[in-house]
């Protein structure tokens, strides 16, 4: 089976679109240039700022997990450009269906990040109101959200709206039946949906070559959906590519598939150990293509990032992280009855009976007994 682990064949049949090289040099791209004509130096610096802040949030969250404040954390380190570039291409009314790793997207959409961390602390399964952010809750079942995005987009068509839905997915998800069924439905109904695939090269320990023998974006044309490969560590190119897909969606052009080539610089989650599977040179190789470093170089070249601006961005990132830490460790534990809430909209007599009985059971303990139960259950 070793042949499955080769790099995907046919890669050279696709062009990876790029606007800023790993060295921070702006290059022309015949397809993408027109989509970022309006992006001025200040907007570029804002994209840079977003990336710096979400990397800082990501580091802080990993630290909070290591300190026992979070049960788990899925780092996005290395994928900042893919997340920022894509979400910043959207309008507020466009609806996002993310995976568990799109915490940078959530930040850009205005999520209160401490609430988002509540999911990873084990307090709740929701970090924001989906209708407040126009962003669904993080999906853990791989690929399931692509169908939700497609259905939502079908609803937009029924409503006569010119907005769109965007589904995030990873390279591993492209093996899931739901993703293929999504592309079938999206094509059949010409739904205004964008499939934004972050190919970060690893699905936990499985390399992308195990998922596909062709470029992931190369699969989409088989469904009648244009596929575009973009440098996922180039925030400007990702912004342009997503605008390209969004314009298609909003103008009745139907679905698009974007493969953003990036790299997961961290573990799958804080419970993972990538040293067991990652090649020894990979971090160095991808470190040289870092999305923040290249933008930093480009902004310096443009004269858009003097010492004062850099210091201000760093200070902002630190302040966000400090606030996040304080808010996270202050999150109260949920009350026992929360486990029973919202399972159904309408009354459910059997569940209500279980709830009432369990609370009566809890109340049957006096304060002293409660304490002794806790002590017995704690590690000695």
């Amino acid at each position: 089976m070793s042949h499955l682990r080769q790099e995907p064949t046919g890669r050279d049949e696709m062009t990876m679109h790029q606007l800023i090289t790993a060295e921070g040099i702006r290059v022309a791209d015949a397809l993408l240039d027109e989509f970022v004509d309006d992006v001025d130096g200040e907007q570029l610096r804002n994209l840079y700022r977003d990336m710096v802040v979400i990397r800082r949030i990501d580091f802080e969250s990993t630290a909070l997990q290591r300190q026992g404040q979070l049960a788990l954390w899925p780092p996005l380190l290395g994928q900042e450009a893919s997340q920022v570039g894509s979400v910043r291409a959207l309008e507020d009314e466009d609806f996002i269906f993310p995976t568990y790793r799109e915490n940078g997207v959530a930040y850009c959409r205005g999520a209160k990040m401490a609430d988002a961390l509540g999911v990873w602390r084990g307090n709740t399964n929701i970090g924001w109101d989906p209708y407040e952010l126009n962003m669904a809750t993080p999906q853990i079942i791989i690929g399931a959200q692509t169908l939700h995005a497609t259905g939502y987009a079908m609803g937009l068509t029924l409503d006569g709206k010119d907005s769109m839905a965007l589904a995030y997915l990873g390279d591993g998800a492209t093996s899931q039946g739901d993703v293929h069924e999504s592309m079938v439905f999206a094509a059949s109904f010409q739904a205004p949906v964008v499939f934004f695939c972050q190919n970060n090269h690893w699905a936990i320990s499985e390399p992308v070559g195990l998922q596909s023998h062709v470029p992931l974006a190369g699969r989409a044309p088989g469904y009648g959906i244009p596929g575009l490969q973009v440098d996922g560590n180039d925030v400007l190119a990702v912004l342009a590519a997503t605008r390209w897909a969004a314009r298609r969606a909003r103008s009745g052009g139907g679905p698009s598939f974007i493969e953003a080539i990036t790299y997961r610089m961290g573990p799958h989650t804080t419970a993972d150990d990538p040293t067991r599977y990652r090649g020894v040179t990979e971090l160095e190789e991808w470190g040289a293509k870092d999305p923040i470093t290249r933008m930093h170089s480009y902004l310096l070249e443009l004269g858009m990032l003097d010492d004062g601006a850099q210091a201000a961005i760093a200070a902002e990132a630190d302040a966000v992280a400090a606030d996040l830490r304080l808010a996270c460790i202050s999150l109260p534990d949920p009350a026992p009855q929360a486990a029973f809430e919202h399972v159904y909209v309408d009354a459910h007599p059997l569940l209500e009976e279980q709830r009432v009985n369990y609370l009566a059971y809890l109340n049957s303990f006096g304060e002293q007994e409660k304490t002794s139960v806790t002590v017995q259950g704690s590690p000695s």
């Binding site: 989906p130 669904a136 259905g151 939502y152």
Partner: protein, 338 residues
């Protein structure tokens, strides 16, 4: 009152829902141009358009999964799964997404889906066309599961299901599709028996016989036949499988002291197991004998030439009633445990 077959009653219920609520959309395979393989959706695409009665590609996970997205968008999708045995490709979307979305979002996102599933055997079909998968969904928190046994309930309970803000699995007893009955189509929904309520459909004094969907008719026939032997059977139509409305069952068993449950689905962890457990808990001191289950066997649904052996029929139900009365006619295996 109008005389309608069960399929016509469902069709009328769908038509009414489409008329009353512009957010109701139908999704499924062959439901549009063809009108459904059982003609349940006959004429609806013509009258409401292909944007509301949507013929989908053949992918059950996508039928459910896109309905989740439509519900996110404020729609009230009614999905048709063509046959019981075809629901499994959509199982993950039902169990992991439809059932959990409301609790996952702490009430922010509702999933008012109705998933219609023709189910059960007795029509001489090939494999995968005669199954009774309802217990999987009864076991799944966040779903409601109902099954009508007659045209009036089919009409009313479908409308209630579509109006319900929780996701509802609506199991249609396909071998009763052509059974006719009087249906009151204009009675206000608010005055109808709630879809979660069970109902005594034949009064009796000796044995409580519980069923749902396709076997309610068989149970009623058994009750009539038993009168020849001087046995009075009370028949209870569950109607709602999740949650089960136990009050009428408990009251009945406290009167009769004997319980028989019958369904087509296999025995192990079927509805009968749960009902026997709950009735034993709540009626222990009233029971004159152990609850009896008359069910399909724990086998994959057999080829159609064998289905008459698998499906509980009138005689097997009466055999179960006799066991509950303490006068077994056949080997039960119960004595082997001694």
């Amino acid at each position: 009152m109008t005389t309608l077959s069960l399929t016509q009653a469902i069709n009328a219920g769908l038509r009414r829902a489409l008329e009353e609520d512009p957010k109701v959309v139908l999704l499924g395979e062959d439901i549009g141009t063809l009108g459904g393989v059982f003609r349940v959706t006959d004429g609806l695409m013509k009258d409401f358009g292909s944007h509301r009665v949507i013929d989908t590609p053949l992918a059950e996970s996508a039928i459910i999964g896109t309905a989740v997205g439509l519900a996110y968008r404020g729609y009230r999708p009614v999905c048709e799964i063509q046959f019981d045995g075809f629901i499994y490709p959509g199982f993950d979307q039902i169990v992991s997404q439809v059932a959990k979305m409301h609790v996952r979002t702490q009430g922010a996102v509702r999933m008012p889906l109705t998933i219609r599933v023709p189910f059960g055997g007795g029509i001489g079909s090939p494999e995968h066309h005669s199954e009774s998968p309802e217990a999987y969904f009864v076991h799944t928190s966040g779903l409601r599961v109902i099954s009508p046994s007659n045209p009036q309930d089919a009409y009313t309970m479908l409308r209630q299901a579509i109006a319900c803000d929780d996701p509802v699995l609506y199991f249609e007893p396909k071998r009763r599709y052509h059974a006719k009955g009087e249906v009151e189509v204009d009675a206000p929904l608010v005055q109808a028996l709630p879809m979660g309520a069970s109902r005594i459909v034949a009064a009796g004094t000796d044995v409580s016989l519980v069923s749902y969907g396709p076997l309610v008719k068989t149970a009623l026939d058994a009750a009539i036949a038993a009168t020849a032997d001087g046995v009075s059977i009370e028949v209870i139509d569950l109607r709602s499988l999740s949650p089960i409305d136990y009050a009428p069952l408990v009251a009945s068993v406290r009167r009769t002291g004997r319980l028989v449950i019958t369904h087509e689905a296999g025995r192990t962890l079927g509805l009968g197991a749960e009902i026997a457990a709950v009735i034993t808990e709540r009626c222990f001191n009233y029971l004159e004998s152990a609850p009896v289950r008359v069910t399909g066997f724990d086998i994959p649904y057999p080829p159609s030439k064998l289905e008459k052996h698998h499906l509980p029929d009138l005689d097997r139900i009466l055999d179960g009633v006799d066991r509950a009365l303490g006068r077994p006619n056949s080997h039960t295996g119960m004595d082997d445990w001694a």
